[in-house]
């Protein structure tokens, strides 16, 4: 059957005017949508330009200057970057930050995944889902302060219990070996529920038939987790990882209230060092250079993660 030339005779022949009219209509509607879209986009675009693009460009410019906020910035070329490369405290801060991110993200992702799977496979209770999210409702500063008091070497209830059990007190936040793991775990405690909920949402998108089919075939829960859950959750997991890694690199508030970068710079994470250089020492140029370095590191990690985890592709469907 040939259909190419079988248009209904009633619609033929079309006059020139008739043929153009619908196109005009479409075009007019498109123009109307464009203006409306622009109005909707405008507030976000304004925010993006004022609060993101402009500060970023200005930050990059400031990284080439000596600037104390109160007197005009003075162009110094690459001086700040040369100083950064030769600054052992910068490298130490970067290393401390990486150490924190690895611990924080490693523990948090595994724990969140476990919680999400348990929530999906074992219960339908909204109450339980709500409880899991509770620590996230607390601000980072409050969480940091509460843990600081609980873990205090001399006075904290945590150490009173440890001491009561006959063990030596642990200087959780006052010893260079313990401080970073402790801060990492405080933040795991606060964020794990939220991360679990994001993963849980991803799990909800996996069709139940797959589990049923696998069960019929005699697959164990463990096997189903590795063969169904993990591969199908991968895109969501990848996005969650990218988001949490970026957030983790920006750790600041918990450090500021618990250790203030100490003891002996053991928790002097990059954001804290940048803050101290800018607002404590008024070296805004140098602080900007370090911020640019952080931006580069984060961009590289994000691209790498995106590629490695194929976050843009789904195995579903």
């Amino acid at each position: 059957m040939t259909v190419a030339s079988s248009s209904p005779p009633s619609r033929l022949p079309l006059s020139g005017a008739e043929a153009v009219a619908p196109m005009k209509k479409v075009k007019a509607r498109a123009q109307g949508d464009g203006a409306l879209a622009a109005v909707f986009i405008a507030p976000a675009m304004l925010g993006f330009l004022v609060f993101l693009l402009w500060p970023t460009l200005r930050g990059i410019w400031l990284s080439f200057t000596r600037y104390n906020l109160l007197t005009p910035a003075e162009f110094v070329g690459l001086d700040n970057y040369v100083r950064m490369v030769n600054d052992p405290i910068f490298w130490d801060s970067l290393w401390v930050t990486v150490e924190y991110v690895v611990l924080n993200i490693g523990v948090q992702t595994v724990a969140a995944l476990a919680i999400a799977v348990l929530l999906q496979r074992l219960t339908q209770s909204s109450l339980l889902r709500g409880i899991v999210l509770t620590p996230y409702l607390m601000s980072n500063v409050v969480a940091g302060l509460v843990w600081l008091w609980m873990l205090d070497t001399q006075l904290g209830i945590g150490n009173e219990i440890i001491s009561g059990l006959g063990a030596d007190r642990i200087p959780f936040l006052a010893d260079e070996t313990w401080a970073i793991p402790t801060i990492a775990l405080i933040n795991v405690w606060r964020h794990v529920g939220y991360t679990a909920l994001l993963l849980f949402a991803g799990l909800q998108a996996i069709p139940n038939d797959m589990y049923e089919a696998a069960r019929v075939d005699g697959a164990s829960e463990w096997r189903m987790f590795w063969r169904i859950t993990m591969p199908l959750l991968r895109p969501v997991l990848a996005v969650v990882l990218i988001m949490t890694v970026i957030g983790s690199f920006q750790v600041f508030d918990t450090v500021a209230v618990t250790t203030a970068g100490g003891p002996a710079n053991a928790t002097n994470v990059l954001q804290y060092y940048i803050y101290g250089s800018a607002f404590g020492r008024f070296q805004f140029g140098y602080a900007s250079a370090m911020s640019v370095a952080l931006l580069v590191v984060l961009s590289a990690i994000t691209v790498l993660q995106y590629r490695l985890t194929r976050a843009g592709q789904s195995d579903l469907g």
Partner: protein, 447 residues
């Protein structure tokens, strides 16, 4: 129609945002109001009384006082300088003086007629910048002394006379080390100077920890380095060479932090600037003594369940006792909208009229001798003997008082010295590591 409405809404929103930003001035500044900031909540009522006296003397002028906690204070002040929302007058600390002078945010006060002799020695001179101009009017002063738990001292058989007659040296610690060893008690009830003392399971430390002390050691080691004859820099004010590489300094630090290794002073791990400063350890009964400043007198004596006493700092190798004598001042912001009113207020704050009122509140020692006398009397009325704080100022023969280090780049010095001292105290790094830190600091000062 819908589009027009949306556009109008978006326009209104943008406009409200812009005007909202423009109305950010929260200082309440006006031609007849002087805004004034301070950080010590204990002193607020006294300055409110002062403000009433000032307003009576200067009809038409009003003083608006804002009190902010120590750390918020400096953050807000800095932000205020940048945003133009700074107070007309603010309480200034010598630690920040160099930085503020460098940033050119302070108004010269040469025409206020501040005379050195009108105040306790050294206080007025500290607020002269490197350019020879005055930037602060003396407000109050503080020294450091040894607070002790009277019950613990009595249980140990240590008398107030003995505590006021201690001496130390970097070799064996002298009678000071003996006293704090004796005041230390382990879990089994053994004292620090008794055989079988378990230094790893201490119940009460002889001396509380106040941390590493950063670059000044005000309530940590400065009383010892001062009585060993050491000075922060090569000259009293605006020095350009720090002396943390001096052997006298390093041997003192080695001995001082060594007290923690012996179990007599709480270890660095017990200190936390947020949750566990010296006062907290003292109040919790975890330490028998603690070095602290005069600004803490009311807090120590107000601690429930603990009967506090104070003793002089111990005499050092020079034969003299020593304490830092730090003085606060009132400064005027260069960008103040009401400089004339601000000058009048600062002149009033620096006068006997106001300082006597502040003294009578018994919370701080004002800078004028009359103010100091009023404060001493007020403390006495509350049953507090403040001789340990006032005698160093009165008796120059047996005491050495020295100022907080006044140099450029104070924030950089702190940023380098804090981890360096914590490394020695907390991680056992050799004290000779300060040679390198000192070189780095002096390199910055050479800029």
């Amino acid at each position: 129609m819908r589009l027009r409405t949306l556009t109008a809404l978006a326009g209104a929103l943008t406009l409200s945002l812009v005007t909202g930003c423009a109305n950010g001035d929260s200082t309440g500044a006006s031609a007849n109001t002087v805004t004034y900031w301070l950080w010590d909540a204990n002193q607020l009522p006294a300055y409110q009384t002062c403000a009433k006296g000032f307003e009576k003397e200067n009809p038409g002028l009003k003083v608006k006082i804002t009190q902010l906690g120590w750390s918020d204070y400096w953050t807000k002040l800095t932000a205020g300088f940048i945003a133009g929302t700074q107070p007309d007058v603010f309480t200034d600390h010598i630690q920040k003086f160099g930085q503020f002078a460098d940033l050119q945010v302070l108004e010269p006060l040469d025409d206020l007629g501040i005379k050195n002799d009108d105040y306790q020695p050294g206080l007025a001179a500290s607020w002269i910048g490197q350019d020879g101009h005055r930037y602060g009017a003396p407000k109050d002063w503080d020294t450091v002394a040894l607070f002790y738990n009277q019950k613990m001292a009595k249980d140990a058989g240590v008398t107030a006379e003995q505590l006021n007659d201690l001496s130390w040296n970097p070799k064996d610690g002298g009678t000071f080390e003996k006293a704090i060893a004796h005041l230390t008690v382990d879990k089994n009830g053994k004292r620090g100077d008794e055989p079988g003392f378990d230094k790893n399971n201490v119940k009460v430390y002889g001396l509380a920890t106040q941390g590493g002390g950063m670059g000044d050691g005000q309530t940590q080691w400065s009383t010892f380095t001062g009585s060993a004859g050491w000075s922060y820099t090569e000259k009293a004010r605006w020095g350009t060479e720090y002396q943390y590489d001096s052997k006298a300094f390093q041997s003192t630090i080695d001995w001082y932090f060594g007290l923690a290794k012996k179990g007599y002073m709480a270890p660095f791990a017990d200190y936390n600037i947020q949750s566990n400063q010296g006062i907290t350890q003292f109040a919790a009964g975890k330490a028998a003594t603690v070095f602290d400043g005069a600004w803490m007198i009311s807090t120590y004596y107000g601690t429930k369940g603990i009967d506090a006493g104070t003793a002089l700092t111990p005499a050092g190798p020079t034969g003299k006792r020593a304490t830092m004598m730090n003085g606060l001042a009132d400064s005027i912001s260069k960008a103040s909208d009401n400089k004339e009113g601000a000058r009048k207020w600062v002149a009033y704050l620096a006068s006997d009229a106001c300082q006597t009122v502040v003294g009578k509140a018994g919370v701080v020692f004002p800078a004028t001798p009359a103010g100091t006398e009023a404060a001493t009397a007020a403390y006495k009325k509350k049953g507090i003997d403040v001789t340990a704080f006032t005698e160093p100022v009165a008796d120059k023969k047996n005491f050495r008082t020295f100022s907080y280090p006044i140099t450029n780049y104070a924030a950089d010095v702190t940023a380098l010295m804090q981890p360096a001292m914590e490394d020695i105290y907390g991680n056992g790094k050799p004290v000779s590591s300060l040679d390198e830190t000192n070189d780095q600091i002096n390199l910055i000062l050479d800029q």
